[in-house]
């Protein structure tokens, strides 16, 4: 998947512009959009690469959508890919917010409020669907099911920081499975 010349910078820009324009209610809602574009439609990424991307970028600071754009842009087309993806991703915010800051009085806020009340439940399902498709791929044995369940419960019930959950998962799996040079485990 690294630095594939057949992927144009314009394509990356357009895909992440769409991602940025339709990210509501926090970054995870845009996962099905990226998945559809890069994994299902273009086949530029394997499902595993997509899941790894989320785990890795979530252990760095920054919004999910922005970090995904940088990581995937860089892996697919190097520095230029990272730049065009991240500009695509933040441009819709820039335009919309500048528009609102400029002409706040002209907006019918009630209409906007109702529209967003309709989108919020859709966001729940977008996120649920992302968890579901990844779960089908990843949760194949008891250990992975325990990892996922413990992580979810710890984050919901004890406010565990996601970055800590990710690092713990990585270290625990190395500790439990003792990788050796000649055999590859996952």
């Amino acid at each position: 998947m690294d630095n594939n010349r057949s992927i144009s910078l314009t394509q990356l820009f357009i895909i992440f512009f769409r991602v940025g324009a339709f990210t509501f209610g926090g970054g995870y809602a845009m996962l099905p959009i990226i998945q559809r574009e890069l994994v299902d439609k273009q086949g530029w990424l394997k499902e595993e690469d997509f899941i790894d991307m989320i785990g890795l970028t979530q252990s760095a600071p920054g919004p999910v959508a922005v970090n995904s754009a940088i990581y995937l842009g860089y892996r697919l087309r190097g520095l230029g890919g990272a730049v065009s993806s991240v500009i695509g991703c933040v441009l819709p915010s820039l335009l919309v917010i500048m528009g609102i800051a400029w002409a706040l009085s002209r907006y019918n806020l009630d209409l906007l409020n109702r529209a967003f009340a309709g989108v919020r439940p859709a966001v729940v399902s977008l996120i649920t669907y992302a968890a579901w498709t990844m779960g089908k791929k990843v949760l194949k044995n008891p250990q992975t099911i325990v990892f996922a369940t413990v992580a979810a419960v710890a984050i919901i019930a004890f406010d565990l920081h996601p970055a800590i959950a990710i690092v713990t998962g990585a270290l625990l799996n190395i500790g439990l499975n003792r990788p050796r040079k000649e055999e590859s485990q996952a």
Partner: protein, 173 residues
Amino acid sequence: MMILWKLFATFAFIGSLAFGGGYVMIPLIDSQVVETLGWLTSTEFADIVAIAEMTPGPIAINTATYVGFRMAGVLGSVVATAGVVFPSFVIVMILARVVAHFSNSVYLQTALGGIRPVVVGLIASAAWSFGAKTLIDLKSWLVAAAVLLALAKTKINPILLIIASFGVGILFF
């Protein structure tokens, strides 16, 4: 000129500390922009957060754009946004390089084997938390159920589902 540099530096500082996504940044921005620098009042800041939540895009980007615009117009927006993205840009790119370089290492592969199920749990927890706040009446449950069914059973573009639920919101909420 001074204000542009100050915007960039302030938002780069905020961006470098925002582990765990946009919502983590809100208290950071509050302490820097409202309390330390006095660029905004706390009422203005609350309005910005509400607008940032309603509009598309990561909340941190939206807030940076708004504050930048208030302080120094269009250029201020661009500079503040560039600032908030800059630390992620550097760190994530280093991460991508390291991962590409060690992609054959069994340690990296085993670490990723442990990370993948955690990611599933992480996203499931996001769905849970967001659902607990959002699915409050029959209407919202129906929209959520319809969208989930459409995602699971059809190949429909998720963007169309978002637009459709906007329409439903305007008509029925």
